[in-house]
């Protein structure tokens, strides 16, 4: 085997090896969310379809210059006996951002979320007598982190 042929073959083998490494091993490592979180996400999606429009404070920017950091405030302290608060971003790959269980606290949450693109985001407030939602559209000019 001459030198040129050897080099060609070895390059071919290495590229196959990298392809296998990238294709088969990475998805296991890059497992995005736990199955438990997926369950909560599916449940929240179901709850949104049955929920009523509610009256609570839901503060967001209308235009987010940077999708990697979108400030969100949900304050449902005017609604009695709030059990949970969830943030659901429809166009994200992982639509549920966070699900808070309110045990002995005021129903007021502030956080920052990532958004991949312009989307409608839904705040879900769960009480014993049913769920309340509010939808808001946020325009994202630069997407953040693939959501």
């Amino acid at each position: 085997m001459n030198r040129r042929l050897f080099l060609q073959k070895s390059i071919a083998i290495t590229s196959i090896a990298t392809a296998v490494g990238a294709g088969l091993l990475m998805p296991i490592k890059a497992f995005a969310n736990t199955s438990e979180f997926k369950k909560i996400s599916d449940k929240t999606k179901e709850r949104i379809s049955n929920a009523k429009e509610g009256d609570f404070t839901f503060k967001t920017p209308t235009i987010a210059e940077n999708g990697a950091m979108v400030p969100i405030t949900i304050d449902a302290s005017n609604i009695p006996a709030v059990k949970s608060i969830a943030i659901y971003v429809r166009n994200n790959k992982t639509p549920l951002s966070a699900h808070f269980e309110i045990l002995e606290a005021s129903a007021s949450i502030t956080s920052r979320i990532k958004m991949a693109e312009t989307s409608i985001i839904t705040a879900v407030v769960g009480t014993e007598s049913g769920d309340f939602i509010q939808n808001k559209k946020i325009i994202v000019t630069i997407g953040g982190c693939g959501g």
Binding site: P27, N33, K93, A98, H99, E104, G146
Partner: protein, 101 residues
């Protein structure tokens, strides 16, 4: 910089708790320059306790911003003990306890 910062301030019967965590919050959906997925590394669960009683429990995904910030409101007075704990998907925990001002 510390990995986790907490400020608790009481005002007319409510304690405002602000938490800032230093964490990459990699969602696992992002690709690097050579097109490979960056492995997920984000906080999955967090809990806030007041005087050793659970006040807020949360499950969060990779779509919370890098170096996440949270603000909670808990009924209480000056001198109450506030503690916060978070766990990420690699099993690493961060914990902080402070007395409310």
């Amino acid at each position: 910089m510390k990995k986790i910062k907490l400020k608790a301030k009481s005002r007319s019967g409510l304690i405002i708790v602000r938490v800032l965590i230093k964490h990459p919050m990699e969602s696992g959906n992002r690709k690097n320059k050579s097109g490979q997925l960056i492995p997920a590394n984000h906080i999955t669960n967090l809990s806030l306790k007041k005087n050793n009683r659970l006040a807020i429990k949360a499950s969060i995904g990779g779509t919370i911003s890098e170096n996440p910030f949270f603000q909670f409101k808990v009924p209480g007075v000056k001198g109450d003990e506030i503690s916060f704990e978070s766990i990420d998907n690699l099993g690493k925990t961060l914990q902080i306890t402070k007395i409310s001002k």
